[in-house]
Structure formats: structure tokens, C-alpha cells
Symmetry: C2
Subunit: 242 residues, 2 copies
């Protein structure tokens, strides 16, 4: 037990999940910002914090979630297994987002699975706490409602794109979306790296098709790659893809 002595206060709190919600900047990015100081302190007292390794399952379709995850760091995919046995990625969830709120509000088991795309750090807030805030803090509920309205709009737009755009067009869109929403590193590579299979699973196509199209984009000078990493070389060109 001697090694505990080397932990600083910060590291110790961090390790066992005792860092304070009131002082956490992450909450500014989601509906938790609408909570009062007292509510945050209460949540701080019952939340748990944990790390999730790349590839780990946070929850699966059908699981009872019983709470909400606040993503402190990392990225995960929300996907659903279709009848033909293929996974369809519905949404990418990143640092600052909440996870599991839909199931919690609908009082249902998870409709989607959440799997980490890189190492993550997440806080888990039990259902009872969130529900009590939803019932008593109208600002919080309204903020949650606004966020859900935004998600619904995005989902509707994805339906239209799925139905009306070609696979090539959708794949170009995904690259642009990732670039615009999640940014790039210092060498302009997309900050989120996905496997070709993941790209196929977002676009809703066969893995081979996704690979083929990315190769074509490369030949046409629209993108370049370094291993799994992708850099967009011609944004306008990608936008023109049909």
C-alpha cells in the first residue's frame, strides 16, 4: 500500500473519481451547465469516474443504463446491429457530450451500443440524480430538450442523406463532417481516426466499397493518408463529389 503515498491530492481524487463537478469545465459543453451549484455538489457526491480503453464496450443494445455518462475525454461510436448482422454507426459522441440520456428519459433499455474509439475518461451519474433535477430544475430540462431537438434535426437530415445521396457522396460528407466537427491535428490529419470498416458502418455500405472509394479519393487528390490517418487535401473537391 506504500505507493498511495506518492499520489498528489489531485491525482488521488482523480483516480477514485472524486474530482468536483462544480470545477469541471466539461459541463459547459452540455446540459449539465444549467444545473445550480447545489445540484452540482450533490451530483459530485454520487457520480463515479472511470477510464475506458479503446474498443471497450460502454453499454450494449438492450442494456439497462440507469444513468448518464458525461464524456470527459475521448470519442465513442453509437451503433446498432441490423437484421443482416452488420453494425450501423448512428452517431459519434465526443468529449463534452452526454451519453445515455435518451434511454434514461424514455425509461427504456439502450437502443444503441456505445463502443470507445480511443481511450476515454467518463463520469457516470446515476439515474435518480438526473431525474430529480429534470423534475425540479426547468432550465436543465429545457436545455436537455433543446439538445434533444438538435439531435433529432441531425438525425432527420441523416435520413434524407442516406436515402438520396450516393455512397461516394456520403463518404465525402463524413470526411468533411469529421474535419469540421472534431478538427484536425497539427499536420492537418483528422483528429479522429477510424478503420475503413467504421467508415463503411457510418456510411452504410460494404467495407470493400468504403476502401475502394477512399482509394479513389486518394488517386483524385482529394485526400491523402498516412496509415490510418486521413488528411483532406481538397475540401471543395470533396464537397463537389456526387
Amino acid at each position: 500500500m506504500i505507493f498511495i503515498m506518492f499520489f498528489s491530492t489531485f491525482e488521488y481524487k482523480h483516480f477514485i473519481g472524486m474530482s468536483k463537478c462544480e470545477q469541471c469545465i466539461i459541463r459547459q459543453f452540455n446540459s449539465l451547465k444549467a444545473l445550480t451549484k447545489d445540484e452540482l455538489i450533490r451530483i459530485s457526491g454520487c457520480k463515479t469516474s472511470r477510464t475506458v480503453k479503446k474498443g471497450d464496450i460502454i453499454f450494449e443494445e438492450g442494456d439497462s443504463i440507469n444513468g448518464v455518462y458525461c464524456i470527459k475525454d475521448g470519442v465513442c461510436k453509437l451503433s446498432k446491429l441490423s437484421a443482416n448482422g452488420k453494425d450501423q454507426i448512428v452517431k459519434l459522441v465526443v468529449k463534452g457530450d452526454l451519453l445515455g440520456q435518451r434511454s434514461l428519459i424514455g425509461d427504456e433499455s439502450a437502443n444503441l451500443s456505445a463502443v470507445a474509439l480511443n481511450d476515454m475518461e467518463v463520469c457516470f451519474i446515476p439515474k435518480s440524480e438526473i431525474m430529480s433535477d429534470l423534475e425540479n430544475n426547468p432550465k436543465f430540462t429545457l436545455d436537455m430538450l433543446q439538445q434533444m431537438a438538435h439531435d433529432l434535426k441531425e438525425s432527420d437530415n441523416v435520413i434524407v442523406d442516406m436515402a438520396q445521396k450516393s455512397v461516394k457522396n456520403r463518404l465525402a460528407d463524413v470526411l468533411l463532417y469529421i474535419s469540421e466537427h472534431f478538427g484536425t491535428d497539427d499536420a492537418d490529419y483528422l483528429s479522429i481516426t477510424l478503420s475503413r470498416e467504421d467508415y463503411a458502418s457510418i456510411v452504410g455500405t460494404a467495407t470493400e466499397s468504403a476502401i475502394r472509394i477512399l482509394s479513389q479519393f486518394k488517386k483524385e487528390g482529394l485526400i491523402s493518408t498516412k496509415g490510418k490517418q486521413i488528411r483532406i487535401e481538397d475540401h471543395e473537391g470533396l464537397r463537389r463529389v456526387e
Copy 2:
């Protein structure tokens, strides 16, 4: 002006949109049921009621809606024009549903167009009234949130189906969905009649493809038709379509 004398009190109120929300059973089917009697009386005083003819546009993409519609009778489609010039139907909205709440909550112009599929009767409640209730009645906001969570789940599931199922499979699903959600008439025909173009626009395919597949379903004895009307002859068969 003499004809006004023939109107009964009921008809008169009905005509100029003065029937009372407190007494309207339709609200039991949507979030308005969470409002208090006082709130309903207040809304009654400022809502307007109108009829919409088949084919009429209730609102279009980009319109500022400035309120919420409560569907007293009839059905409409929510659609979006895609880049290739085709309309994609995202959702069917029926008697009892609310319309426009997403744009109102997000404080945005309409993302979708709403067009009547048959003659409709709708009440319009101005934005200010709804917003004040959202800010002051947590039960109402929570109910709205739960409804929105449900819509989001449905949208996510549509994305998966769009991406992973064949056109034939999706068309079979739509027929079953309409049958299960909107019911049939006394002769078992689907109570909602859609053009082949509308079916194509829900499924996300070419009109000719939708026509062809419906013809095939007919040949296979899965459905029968009488003009535009469709009757499902073999539910299990439709469910097995791949």
C-alpha cells in the same frame, strides 16, 4: 348575412376556432395533456383553428413557424428536399400529434416541409404561449422531452434501416408500419392512402422502383389494391421480405 343564423352554437365556435382546449380530447394524445387547466384556458384564448385541404402546404423548409400545430384531424407528411431535387418524407404526422415543436424549441426556421395528405383540421398555438409553459411547467417540459426522446429513437432506427435494408424490405416495412400505426378501414384497406410517388419518397427510391415492387407484392399475393387503396393480404409474408 342571414345564413349565420342557421349555425348552432357548436358549429359557430368550431368555425371561428373558439372551441375550448380544456374540453378537447385530442390533447390527451400529446404533451398538451401535461398542462394545467389554467394554462389550457389561456391557450384556448389565443389559439387559432383552421382547416387545411389535401395537398396544401402547412409550412415549408426555411419558414419561421412561430408556434406549434396540434393536429385535430387528418394526416400530413414531413419532408425535405434533397440536393438531387427529390423530396424525402421523414415522418407521417397524424391526428393527436404536435407539429413544429422541434423548430420552436431549437429556435430555428423549419427544417422540414409539412404537406397535408388529406383534408385536415389543425389548431395553431403561438410560440410565446408554448415557451412560457415550457419555462414554468416542468411536467409539460418533461413530457415534451420524453416525446422528443421517442422521436429521436425512431429516427435512429430509420437510419439503420435505410442503411442496411433493401428497397423491397423497406417498402414492406412501410406497409406494415402504416397498418400497425394508423390502422385500416372496415374493408381492411390501409386508412392512409398514399401515391406511389409518396411511397417512393418514404422509402428513398425511384418512383418506378416503388411501383414495380408493389406490383410484385401484388403478384405474390402479399397485398391487393383497389385504385390507390392497398390491403395487406399476408402480414407474415411481408415481414419475411428481404
